[in-house]
C-alpha cells in the first residue's frame, strides 16, 4: 500500500504543470458527479413522497352522504346493493375526473361490503367521517364511509 502511494506521488511530481490541470479537471468532474447523484437522490425522494390527504375532499364526501341520507335514499342504496343505482346516484354528485369508494360496516366496524368505481386508488383518496345510517328493516345501524380519490 505504502509503495503504491509512493509511486503515485512520484508520478504526480514527474507529471508537471499539465498533469496538475488535468487532475483539477478530474476533481471537478468527480464533484459534478457527486452533485448529480445527490440531486437525483433528493428529487426521487421528493417525487416518491405520498401526497397529502385532502381535507376538503373528505368534507365534501361527508356532505354527499348527508344529502343522500336526507330522504332515506342512502339506506335504500345500501340495502339494495345495486351497483348501477349507486353509479347513477353517487357518480352524479362526485366531481368530474374523480373516483369513489363506498364502504359499509357493521356497528362493530366489520366490513359488510364495499363498492368502488373504476380508477379508485386509496393512495390518493380522502374519506368522509363515519356516517351512521339506520333503516326500518334492519334493527342495527350501518356505519358508512365514502372515500373520493383524484
Amino acid at each position: 500500500m505504502a509503495s503504491r502511494m509512493r509511486s503515485a506521488i512520484v508520478l504526480d511530481i514527474s507529471c508537471g504543470r499539465g498533469c496538475k490541470g488535468a487532475s483539477l479537471i478530474f476533481d471537478c468532474v468527480i464533484a459534478c458527479v457527486i452533485i448529480i447523484v445527490g440531486l437525483a437522490a433528493y428529487s426521487s425522494l421528493v417525487a416518491n413522497m405520498p401526497p397529502e390527504l385532502e381535507q376538503g375532499l373528505g368534507k365534501y364526501a361527508t356532505y354527499v352522504l348527508t344529502f343522500l341520507d336526507s330522504k332515506g335514499c342512502l339506506a335504500r342504496l345500501i340495502e339494495g346493493r345495486n351497483s348501477l343505482a349507486m353509479q347513477k346516484t353517487i357518480g352524479e354528485l362526485i366531481p368530474d375526473g374523480m373516483s369513489y369508494c363506498l364502504c359499509v360496516y357493521s356497528p362493530y366496524w366489520e366490513l359488510n361490503w364495499s363498492f368502488a368505481s373504476q380508477g379508485f386508488d386509496w393512495r390518493n383518496a380522502a374519506a368522509s367521517s363515519p356516517y351512521l345510517v339506520s333503516s326500518e328493516s334492519n334493527p342495527e345501524p350501518y356505519l358508512v364511509t365514502l372515500a373520493i380519490s383524484k
Binding site: 459534478c32 452533485i35 448529480i36 440531486l39 428529487s43 365534501y60 346516484t89 354528485l93 366531481p95
Partner: protein, 141 residues
Amino acid sequence: MDQAFEAAIAFAIFVAAFSASQYTAITVYESSLKGLYEPKLESAACIVASEILLQNGKSSEKWSSWEPICQPGNYFSPHSGVELEIKATCYSIDPSGAVTKLWIKHGPPLAPLGRHAQKYVSGAVLDDGTFVRLEVYAKDG
C-alpha cells in the same frame, strides 16, 4: 499535440459533467418550486370557496340569485395575481334515489383555466333539501 488532445478531451468531459449537473439542479429547483406553489393555489381556491359558502349559507334563495364573480379582488384571499374559475351545480334527489341537476352556474364561461389549475371542491345541503357542489379552480395569473 498529445497534451493538447488530452486537455481537449478532459475539458469536453468537464463541460458534459458540468452541464448535466446544472440540468439536474434546475430540474430539482423547478420541482421544488412547483411543490411550494401548488398548496398556495389550493389555499387560494379554498379561501374563495369558503367565502362563497359563508355568504350564501344554506339559503336556497341566496344561491339561486347568486352569480359567480371571478375577480380575485372581491375575495379576502391574500394571494394576488391568481386567476379564478368558479363552478356551482345544484342537485335535487327524489325518494327513489334519482338525482336531478337543477342548475349550473359557471364563471367565467368562455375561459376555462385548464388542467394546470388547482381545484378545491366543497358542498352544502340547502334548506329546501337540495345540494350545491362548489368547485373553485385557481391558477397563477
